[in-house]
């Protein structure tokens, strides 16, 4: 192989020395890429060059050849750095694979079941800005009720995954208890406060729909307000409730509020990745979101969520700057 490479190199060099044409330089440079692919070190290139030149113009002063030997010596450490590069690339690929596995495990472990409740159409979408999602949705289902926690946890990777697991396992433990939004946030707040120091921030919205009286009750731990769409009036209003971020203080009492829902009304819960969509002209405002929701307000909850994501994503040139999560509860007949 090296001999073949050497012969080819000599031909290209010879050609160039007689023509000095751009074409030969182009051919030479394309050839050099194959050198790199074949792990030919730069010191080898100098040696190949020296031998080729020697064949083409043998009658040069001894200093020229000696100078190439010196140049070879100079290139050895460059060659080593390049080989280190190959090994780093392999390492990086291994990390990538590990991340892929981690994402899969996270999905399995923290999975949640979309409620299937008569009278309620549930749609949601959650897209990470980078590989790992820092937003988390968890559904808590009972016979006549559908509850959902929408949370935005600080950071990514392990810290985020652990915060999510706190929420999941905390809520799993609530199955038989009082699952009023107020009580859910009070309890989760206590778990978080106990487990993490004050430098971890988690915002969370908890909403619950009761099929018996079509009442949506909610509480918020420093989270984005939800949007309530009144189908009859074709108007939007914000559902906000007072409450500190999770884990700041041990005994917070979260405010709980209610909203009665009529058929075709829907409620949009989201994270700040939705409301803080950044375009070239700055942040969008709530009106943009309302306009987009109105366009498809007669569609099923899933389609509304999808539409909102597609349009907001287009507005920011398909590059999310934050994780994007929407959950929609729509009252059906």
């Amino acid at each position: 192989m090296p001999q073949v490479v050497g012969r080819q190199y000599k031909e290209i060099l010879k050609q160039y020395l007689s023509s000095q044409s751009e074409e030969d330089l182009y051919v030479g440079q394309q050839f050099s890429r194959r050198f790199i692919e074949k792990d030919i070190a730069p010191e080898d290139v100098i040696s190949i060059h020296k031998n080729a030149l020697h064949d083409i113009v043998p009658d040069l002063r001894k200093e020229v050849w000696d100078s190439f030997d010196f140049l070879i010596e100079m290139m050895i450490h460059y060659g080593l750095t390049l080989r280190e590069h190959q090994s780093l690339i392999r390492k990086q690929e291994a990390i990538q694979m590990e991340m892929d596995v981690a994402t899969g495990v996270q999905d399995t472990l923290l999975k949640t079941k979309t409620p299937n409740l008569k009278g309620l159409d549930v749609g949601w979408i959650s897209k990470p800005a980078k590989q790992m999602n820092g937003d988390y949705i968890y559904f808590l289902n009972h016979e006549h009720e559908a509850g959902v926690a929408v949370a935005d946890v600080m950071g990514k990777g392990i810290p985020a995954a652990l915060c999510m697991s706190m929420i999941k396992f905390g809520m799993d433990g609530l199955q038989d208890e009082n699952t009023s939004p107020q009580n859910v946030l009070n309890i989760i707040n206590r778990i978080v406060e106990k487990s993490v120091d004050n430098s971890m921030f988690i915002s969370m919205f908890y909403g619950k729909f009761d099929a018996r009286d079509s009442m949506f009750s909610y509480a918020s731990a420093g989270h984005e307000p939800a949007l309530y769409f009144n189908a009859k009036e074709q108007t939007f209003s914000e559902l906000s409730a007072k409450g500190l971020l999770l884990g700041i203080k041990p005994n917070v009492v979260y405010e709980e509020r209610k909203q009665k829902m009529e058929v075709n009304d829907f409620i949009v819960m989201m994270t700040d990745g939705v409301t803080e969509t950044r375009t070239e002209d700055g942040f969008i405002d709530m009106k943009t979101i309302e306009k987009l929701l109105l366009e498809v307000s007669e569609k099923p909850a899933g389609a509304i969520a999808e539409h909102l994501y597609n349009e907001l994503s287009k507005l920011q040139n398909y590059r999310l700057s934050d994780d994007f999560t929407v959950v929609i509860f729509k009252k059906e007949k």
């Binding site: 751009e22 074409e23 330089l25 692919e37 690339i89 990538q96």
Partner: protein
């Protein structure tokens, strides 16, 4: 007005023509041999991308100046399919060979300024500048 000239890219031969034009201009601006080679390589990569992925396009070369600085600007444009995921293309390759992605971080490194505008179905324009230091 600044000098500006261009090469249409249809065939591999046009890549060589664009390189030649770029090298001549770089020399006139006053770049040394190594920088001439770097600018030429950047043009080469851009032109190859047009040739390989868009089919046809154009390389424009312009001498530029700003205050006391002078330099060379290369504009590569095509009406090809556009770049799907610019973020990905600009990432350092996990492999140095092949693909559109291989060239872009390289071009960025060879030059001083770099900007991509790409729209699906409309095409891609890459503008890049190197200043004489």
């Amino acid at each position: 007005m600044n000098f500006r000239s261009s090469v249409e890219i249809y065939t591999e031969w046009d890549i060589v023509a664009a390189r030649q034009l770029g090298r001549n201009e770089a020399k006139k601006v006053g770049f040394g041999t190594v920088d001439q080679a770097r600018i030429t390589t950047a043009i080469s990569e851009l032109a190859r991308n047009i040739y390989l992925y868009a089919g046809k396009g154009k390389i424009e070369i312009e001498r530029v100046s700003e205050g006391k600085m002078s330099g060379i600007k290369i504009i590569a444009s095509d009406e090809g399919p556009g770049i799907q995921d610019i973020r990905k293309v600009m990432e350092d390759g996990f492999s140095t060979s092949g693909g559109l992605g291989a060239g872009m971080p390289g071009v960025k490194r060879l030059m001083d300024e770099f900007k991509v505008i790409s729209e699906a179905g409309i095409g891609t324009t890459i503008t890049t500048v190197k200043w004489l230091h």
